[in-house]
Amino acid sequence: MMNPENLIFLPVALPLAGAAAAFCAKAWCTGSLAKITEYGGALIGLALPWAFLAAVLPVIATGGVVEGVIGRWYEGIGITFRFDGLSWLVMVLIYSVTTAAWIYSLGAGPRNASFSAVYLILVSALSATIMTTDVFNLFVCLEMAGITSYVLIASSGKPGAALASFSYLLISASSMVFFLLGVYGLYRLTGALSYEGIAQGLQSLPDGGGTAAVVSLALMIAAVSVRVAVMPVSGWLPDAHALAPHAVSAVLSGVLIKVPLFALARVMLLMPAGMQAGALIGYAGAFTALFGVILALSQKDAKRLLAYHSISQIGYVVSAWGAAVHVGVTTPAGAALMAASFLHGLYHAMFKGLLFLSIGTTVDRTGQRDVYQLRGAARILRSGGERIPVTCICFFIGALAISAIPPFNGYVSKTALSHVLSGSFHYYLLTAAGVGTAASFIKLSRIYWPQKQGGEHSAARGRTPASVYISQLFLGGLCIAGGISASAVFAMVVNLLSASGAPVPEVAFYSSANMLKALLTVAAGLILFLLTATKKGGALLTTIRTRPRGFQDLFISFSLAAAVLVIWML
């Protein structure tokens, strides 16, 4: 029982068991028994996987890959899970953010057993997504993660949440149908569903399957891009992330948009056409980073501003990811690119989770989400019983991290990204996006500045629960720890991602040149912020903010993206 082949199902099975316990709590238990069952379920689903991750680390760290077939079927018939360095790393990302966000939800809501159950199913689906090795199982896992996330978004009960959830459901369900069409195409061509089976089948075909294979692969990539929210197919994200409950926003932004990306890398790296597509997606990512930040800068709703930053930051991740897929992770350059991409994904999950939670606490306390209206939030938080300004400090940790200020973790991952991408086209777009990021967080941090006139916002009644502080401090601590142990973490990520033992590139994280660059970026951001604060700048931002959006645009951009992908790969 204790051999690794059986253990690797635990990250999927434990959260599911926890979800079952939470459902039991909802169905049959009352009073304190219900609470005990629900919390026990969450403990099984969110805490025990950490023990599993610690237990398998010695096997994984030496380049070991564990495979297991569900139900002990013959290999090739049953569903196979593969647990390797990439799975390990992505699971650390999943469990660190989901654990913190669940603790936050205890204090800030939605506080009920059915929320915990659906939440745990989402965690289970995400773990399965990164371990899966066949395209149909990937489809099922993505759908499972999707369906649970629609429920969680709608669970906030805000007026727009149902509509946001509905339009996310509509676009992602229709894109997943095209994913299925891609699966169909590849199955027709090769008669296989596993990643390796498809890759081998395509290799044995004349000219690698030709147009049919390329179209199938392009449909799959485009469908997953909708989930990852790369521009131009990111239009669903701001509403969904802004209107979800705060804890869910943190998970959606931190985890849900990244896991499909790294799962997709497994497929694309096996096929020449997929590696070619990586280059195009890398460019799309770099543009996403820049345009996302321009849109973010123009927002006035605090959570919507953060949601647009998620698009922008995923652009950073995708641009390095695409370049890594293009050159292949077996080369040292590719391994370094993939490591930098993952590192930013992980650190973004931490600081964006922290930002969503601390802004969530702030807007709940003050009852005001408008960045231009809300002032003096620090004082309002203090009158709500916060003697040490935890929320305020945590917000600033997150804001400094995302603006790449040393010694926080965002600085480290962005330095790693600019090191591996230096000299390329992406580098300049990402640097420009960094200026915008600094500017928009100067804008957002103004909500904590002291108020000039007397207070007009009344704070919500009651004290902020302790679990809110615990989760914020946990993520804040991770942000600082990630920044201080920069070189060690980066070396570990490179080692885990390249089983062949590629050399770890020497990145001087705290060199004076890199520090100077961070300083100059912030200075440029300050100038940009002052420009947008002028009358003309404000008018321009309003124009950007109020541009029309609709479901039609999303669908058209999805078709266009798929078509461009096909042309690029042919």
Binding site: F136, V140, I147, Y150, A154, L163, L169, L170, S174, Y187
Partner: protein, 103 residues
């Protein structure tokens, strides 16, 4: 033929203003895809793939197994989407997208 039905679904998905109709169009696209898969595994004069002798000619069982899963997922989608619509109707009193955006 399949592509034609899919385009009917997509057309309806984009042009219809009614949320229920959007869901119906999504179902049309999904079911077309399911038919498509089943057709891919079909062979003339072949038996159903269960309780067979080893040398019997059967249809390909894999697409059928996959599509059973896909049908279940489709049902989940429809149930969830209709639940969302009911909720929207409670809060806004309408199921037309244009009316909801005006509010």
């Amino acid at each position: 033929m399949m592509m034609l039905i899919i385009f009917v679904g997509i057309f309806g998905l984009i042009t219809s203003d009614n949320l229920i109709k959007k869901i119906m169009c999504l179902s049309i696209i999904e079911n077309t895809m399911i038919l498509n898969f089943i057709r891919a595994g079909f062979r003339e004069e072949a038996a159903a793939p269960f309780l067979i002798t080893p040398d019997a000619v059967t249809v390909d069982p894999i697409p059928q197994a996959l599509m059973l899963t896909a049908i279940v997922i489709g049902v989940c989608f429809n149930a969830l989407a209709v639940a969302c619509i009911v909720r929207l109707h409670h809060t806004t009193g309408t199921i037309l997208v244009s009316d909801i955006h005006e509010l």
